[in-house]
Amino acid sequence: MDKPFPYSETVMDHFANPRNMGDMDNPSAIGNVGNPACGDMMRLFLKIENGVIVDAKFKTFGCGAAIASSSMLTEMLKGKTLEEAMKISNDEVVKALGGLPEAKIHCSVMAEEALKAAMNDYEGKKK
């Protein structure tokens, strides 16, 4: 990148070219966190087959860090078993993004919370 930006190259890449952004037909689970009143909101869609996340998609209202965290999380989730996915923390998202400014760590926390919310939704649906 020839121009200086406030985030790492990976963050800028995921912000500019978000992976897995969009809706999903018949998702196995949905994780909704945040709300517009808080300035950020994330919706995570998962397709789960035989205990494996075969597809992950997202929609996010938020800053560059929030969009990049969402994009990175969906990339990390695809192909993982539910057990493996449960272990993904916001720290790992931050690391994969090449770091986030201190004030934006909460964006990665939102991604982790969306994952937990989706997992709860999946567990709830199974019952």
Binding site: F5, M41, T60, C63, G64
Partner: protein, 381 residues
């Protein structure tokens, strides 16, 4: 400035040796050029380190020398004005903060009432940089004069974009900042009308008539003088050109950008200045996309732009947006596009062509937008 820096610069307080005399002359010339920008005499201009210092010197310096006065400002002033209130109150100065309306204008009746039998130094910016609104300074100055009060105006955002004549506008103390008019950062000035008494807010020597002690920033001051000299003759033509381009851009964005909400007054505003926020998308995302497309805008909201904050608790919504009724809980950040004399019609057309697509890109990502559309479909039946 580079000439000054490579000239074997002397200390202007050394009045005898030639390097000192030369430095003194550089300052004198800059003082003439700076004062000419605002139709003032050179003796009425004091150089400072910038607008923050000028605002502190104007208000605290005036109240130190005139302790019987109170202090009045609006709730959309810069922090260098608003944050003086605490120490003024500690010094038992009567203070009042006037609320502006949704356009950012001060209510003139409210000002009159605040000053009745309470002479004060009134500090109101000519223009607000975040929402672009221009205060009705001449009416404000009449009210101040009628009530034995004096008017300080921060002209940082307005200087160079509109013509400013301190005495015609009835301004007693006026703040200027060099970098906002293409000069160097770290230098500014305070215009002090004749017979207004000010006390220094620093202890020190006799520089700047003893009102602003400390060795002068000679290269910075030279740069400020040059900047004022370069811009002063064609402010009106740029003002008219930018006003038309700004009005045209406003209309275009109003039609092409969904969910747009403009901030500030539609007519009483800085020429070429547009500020807005967009529902369902976050300001910083749009700023980043604009930057990636070569448009350097700023956010009115610290919430979305202060990446250097220590933690998220420091990401507060802007007090200006809050004051003009932008829902602070949305905190979605406003965008400020402030054009200057070097911006061309092509620049404005470029913004017109790029902005709608960038907003749409963020809307397609936004779950808030999805929910809105779903609710709308349900309501519409």
């Amino acid at each position: 400035m580079s000439e000054v820096l490579s000239s074997g610069l002397g200390n202007p307080s050394s009045h005898i040796h030639s390097a000192g005399v030369a430095a003194g002359k550089i300052i004198d010339e800059a003082r003439e050029k700076t004062s000419a920008l605002i139709g003032a005499s050179p003796e009425s201009v004091i150089f400072t380190s910038g607008a923050t210092e000028s605002n502190n010197l104007a208000i605290t310096g005036f109240l130190k020398a005139n302790p019987d006065f109170g202090f009045v400002c609006s709730n959309i002033e810069h922090f260098s004005v608003l944050n003086q209130i605490r120490s003024l109150r500690d010094n038992e100065v009567n203070t009042a903060v006037l609320e502006v309306d949704d356009y950012g204008l001060v209510d003139l009746d409210m000002l009159e009432k605040a000053l009745e039998n309470n002479p004060a130094i009134v500090s109101l910016s000519i223009a607000n940089p975040e929402i672009g609104t221009l205060q009705e300074i001449e009416e404000i100055s009449d009210i101040c004069r009628r009530n034995g009060s004096i008017l300080h105006s921060d002209a940082t955002a307005a200087a160079g974009l509109i013509e400013i004549d301190a005495s015609k506008m009835g301004i007693d103390l006026l703040t200027l900042s060099a970098h906002n008019m293409y000069g160097p950062p770290g230098v500014g000035a305070l215009y002090v009308k004749e017979n207004i008494r000010l006390a220094s807010i620093f202890e020190g020597g006799n520089q700047e008539s003893g009102i602003r002690p400390g060795t002068e920033n000679v290269p910075g001051i030279a740069g400020m003088g040059e900047a004022c000299d370069i811009i002063k003759d064609d402010i009106k033509s740029h003002r008219d050109r930018l006003k038309n381009l700004g009005t045209d851009l406003w209309k275009s964005l109003e039609e092409s950008v969904r969910f747009i909400n403009f901030t500030g007054h539609p007519e009483k505003r800085l020429p070429g200045h547009i500020s807005f926020w967009v529902e369902h998308i976050e300001g910083e995302s749009l700023l980043l996309l604009l930057s990636m497309n070569g448009i350097m805008a700023s956010s009115g909201s610290a919430c979305s732009s202060n990446l250097k904050a220590k933690d998220e608790n420091e990401l507060m919504a802007s007090h200006v947006l809050d004051a003009v009724g932008v829902p602070s809980d949305i905190c979605s950040g406003s965008i400020t596009l402030s054009a200057g004399r070097y911006n061309t019609e092509e620049d404005f057309n470029y913004v017109k062509s790029v902005m709608p697509g960038l907003v749409e890109k963020l809307l397609t990502m936004s779950p808030s937008y999805d929910d809105y559309m779903r609710n709308k479909e349900t309501t519409d039946g």
